[in-house]
Assembly symmetry: C2
Homo-oligomer: 379 residues x 2
């Protein structure tokens, strides 16, 4: 099987990730609950993972790296926890429903005002337009670093500068990019970086989180056991505890730490270049095939390792099924939880077939995928 | 090392649990995201886990078993999602902060009214008193099945009957009991059962959830990607999707399924009897030692496998440290996130040393723990 659905989850992980999970399952107690060796092992392993991620994202304090179930929870925490009634939020057409739906919910329930930097037919946004929207008293910018549909990157340094200029908070959805692209929270004025563990950070499912810059106070989604200050009626505010009620996924976080360490050891740049080469090879191989329409902006190499396409007017699910059943190639069809971008691209009906690459894919696999697309297009 | 901190997390799991996690990490795609074999494997494994838990809890519909990061998230979801402004909630002094703090928060933010069935000095509640409180227009009863401090069980069949009589919702915290004690949601009138995966269900950390009876609509804590109905602005309401925004901890849930299958295969009753035997042996072995005070009601065998005690007026943390460092026995000292019960027991200052047992503990380990307590008490 050729696995090209890495934007959904990286199926192939460095072997040390599973090893770390296994070790954790054998030796890890409940972090922060007790002082015996197993509980301490848990605390240490989790703290090491905070440290390595803080370093990766240039988050000034390791304790400001908070773990959640997934990126969606991180985004809900940041959005629901920072935006108050009637406030203005600027976002983009590129967003995933994990950004859109929390915002729509606040629009409905708290009367927040919502503005969108529109995407053009290549899936690109206009930064001057974004700036104009932010200028209008925006409390926050919430935007993705890389579209999960087209792979287009957003220039987050520029967005961060806009946020900083107008005093808006910058909440970044780095679900598709954390681990592959350098992100500097301080330099880029990112207030909250939301990440998932099970994609390009090579961690297990059930991991993700948010890195919070400075002393930003975020109202938690949930409160409860904290292991500290039991007799307080209010959940402690200090991070990470303030946003981490209950027992963490210590086993998963140990694996995430191993994934991040693999990236550090291998070099983010080397991973990036390998993925870009595969993406570019695939793009060049399919873009001129009769009947194939590729979406997104390929004028730059700085893009997430994703190529979304359609073949003639074939339903994207049927193409993806054929790729799976006939060619044993795993891709993802449909809407990819990105409704506004599909509308901008004109693919709301058809969806798109998404090929997404990882460090563990090979040139041979990419060639096989090109051949399969060519065959389906010529049927 | 003798691990007697199973009420925090069961360190020793059936070997098939780690095996299932490992298999999932090698073969599982992103559930509900794509139709290739790896995505389908994920969906199937997760659905099987819903089924086995639904059967265990007598939850009428498997799709009403919803997965969360932990029990705290499940309780926050149920409490915040069901209790509206100004409503009356009845709970008990036995509760963990994962119940108390969400309730205190609603008290502060939504002006809910909160009543407590008090615990006596043995940690028992008075059911007539509870009924009286519920009679006063209670919207919901939220209570634990088993105290995580004393191990005392609550008679949930009786509480369920009270809830049913007065038309109150019954939200059960089964963190300490799911997997060891028979729970029948239908017969016991339990509307929402909140469970954790990593304790007596033998699952990995990062798993837990809620089982919801019938068509109860719970407002979700978070919304986002659902894999279905992408173009709706509102997150789909139907369960499990309605309460499961974002990518699930598929790897962990596969392990949880293996843990639940182990319980089914072994027999809950057999596990229960083994744990009770160990608990009783330990209790009988320590209760008459000079200087030892045991907390809780031991007049019945129907109790969670927990014995909390103090030795003279020694600080519980010091005792637990000595148990760990000198005797290599892992226990848990302090307040165990149960502030009201410590007040009822008169142990708010001292805390208590909690010994908690599991199916994987042995008589020899229990004897060693008794000997250690005796030695510390005679120092």
């Amino acid at each position: 099987m050729i696995y090209l659905d890495n934007a959904a989850t990286t199926l192939h992980k460095p072997p040390e990730v599973a090893e770390a999970v296994l070790q954790a399952m054998m030796h890890m107690g409940n972090s922060g609950r007790g002082s015996h060796e197993e509980a301490l092992t848990a605390s240490r392993r989790i703290y090491e993972t905070r440290e390595i991620l803080a370093e990766m994202f240039h988050c000034p304090q390791a304790q400001n790296v908070v773990f959640t179930l997934n990126s969606t929870e991180a985004l809900n925490t940041a959005i629901q926890g920072l935006v108050g009634p009637g406030e203005h939020v600027v976002t983009t057409d590129l967003e995933h429903n994990s950004v859109l739906r929390p915002l729509y919910r606040l629009e409905q329930e708290k009367g927040i005002r919502l503005s969108f930097a529109e995407a053009d037919t290549r899936g690109c946004i206009d930064y001057d337009r974004l700036e104009l929207l932010v200028k209008d008293n925006a409390k926050a910018i919430v935007c993705t670093h890389g579209s999960n549909l087209t792979g287009n990157l957003v220039d987050i340094a520029r967005v961060g500068k806009i946020a900083d200029t107008y005093g808006a908070l910058f909440i970044l959805d780095a679900s598709q990019t954390a681990g592959v692209f350098p992100i500097d929270m301080e330099e880029m004025h990112i207030d909250v970086l939301c990440f998932t563990g099970h994609k390009s950070l090579f961690g297990p499912q059930g991991t993700g989180g948010l890195a919070v810059c400075g002393n930003l106070e975020i109202k938690p989604l949930k409160v409860g056991g904290s292991g500290i200050r039991t007799f307080d009626r209010i959940h402690p505010k200090e991070l990470p505890t303030g946003l981490e009620a209950g027992t963490l996924n210590g086993h998963g976080i140990a694996g995430l730490g191993a994934g991040a360490a693999f990236i550090e050891k291998t070099g983010m740049d080397r991973i990036f270049r390998h993925e870009q080469r595969l993406t570019r090879t695939f793009y060049e191989g399919v873009k001129d095939i009769d009947g194939v329409t590729v979406y997104g902006d390929f004028s730059t190499w700085m893009r997430a390792p994703i190529v979304a396409l359609n073949i003639w007017d074939y339903d994207s699910s049927e193409v993806s099924d054929e790729l799976s059943q006939v060619y044993d190639i795993a891709t993802r069809p449909g809407a990819h939880c990105a409704p506004r971008l599909h509308q901008a691209l004109g693919t709301a009906e058809q969806g798109a077939v998404r090929f997404s690459f990882s460090y563990y894919n090979t040139e041979e696999e990419v060639q096989a995928a090109i051949d399969a697309v060519r065959k389906i297009a010529s049927e």
